[in-house]
């Protein structure tokens, strides 16, 4: 799993590629912590996300909570399988998916 950072003024885009599971989720959390102080809003681009487990969901939820106290977070390019996971877990209600 790797995370690409794209900075656009006050908005940071994190492109998540590969698998988000128990082993790799901490790396995403680290990447989020590294950028969150310096940006007002966040975009998670999941075009390259192949797989997500509950460990990955927890990091996304934690990130959403942090960004809610700032300028918010959007999630984009969610594929059909990942979207199904979001629907099952109610994440479609919590996340701003564009």
């Amino acid at each position: 799993m790797n995370v690409e950072k794209v900075c656009n003024g006050n908005e940071m885009t994190l492109c998540v590629n590969g698998r988000l599971d128990t082993t790799t989720a901490p790396s995403l959390e680290t990447a989020v912590m590294e950028v969150v102080a310096g940006c007002e809003s966040l975009v998670l681009d999941l075009a390259g996300l192949e797989y997500i487990s509950s460990a990955g969901l927890r990091v996304i939820l934690k990130t959403q909570k942090i960004m809610m106290s700032k300028g918010g977070m959007k999630v984009q390019h969610v594929n059909e399988t990942i979207m199904e996971i979001f629907e099952i877990t109610g994440f479609t209600d919590i996340l701003t998916i564009i």
Binding site: T23, Y51, S53, S54, R58, L61, Q64, I85, I88, G90
Partner: protein, 148 residues
């Protein structure tokens, strides 16, 4: 022990390296049996969640996974010698609360329950024995006005 062509067993010590090993085992089953993409993904999510619980919470010293491949379904069996624990009795997270209140726990088991056709649990021979049946059918399309 009789070995069947449509069945594979994988015994493992449930430590942190086990999760990657289980994933590799499932990848080879999916490839060898030609299991469809969506069912293959579901298998891995279910196994990831169940095995994570076994690795991190059960105190088990040994575990075994059984994969049974049938025409229309795949069955995953999990056996471990950890503390007696029925995941079906785990409290579901409250999905009606917003992100502020949403509990971080229980998400994994919720995913398993929603994705599975059938789940059976028993504690026998001092082992947790869990069986999860997953359909191979493609996802049902959401109907829209254009379908009629």
């Amino acid at each position: 022990m009789v070995s069947h062509e449509n069945e594979r067993r994988f015994s493992i010590v449930p430590d942190k390296e086990a999760l990657a090993a289980v994933s590799d085992f499932l990848d080879s089953c999916v490839e060898d049996y030609g299991i469809p993409l969506r069912a293959g993904y579901t298998l891995k999510v279910v196994a990831d969640e169940i095995m994570s619980n076994i690795v991190y919470y059960s105190g088990a010293k040994s575990a075994e996974i059984l994969l049974q491949n049938d025409a229309d379904k795949v069955t995953l069996g999990f056996m471990d010698d950890g503390v007696p624990y029925n995941p079906m009795e785990a409290e579901e997270p409250d999905l009606t609360t917003g992100a502020e209140e949403r509990s971080l726990g229980g998400l994994g088991l919720l995913m398993v329950k929603k994705m599975a056709e059938q789940i059976q649990y028993e504690y026998a021979d001092r082992k947790n024995q869990l069986k999860v049946v997953l359909s191979k059918a493609a996802k049902k399309k959401k109907l829209s006005l254009e379908d009629f």
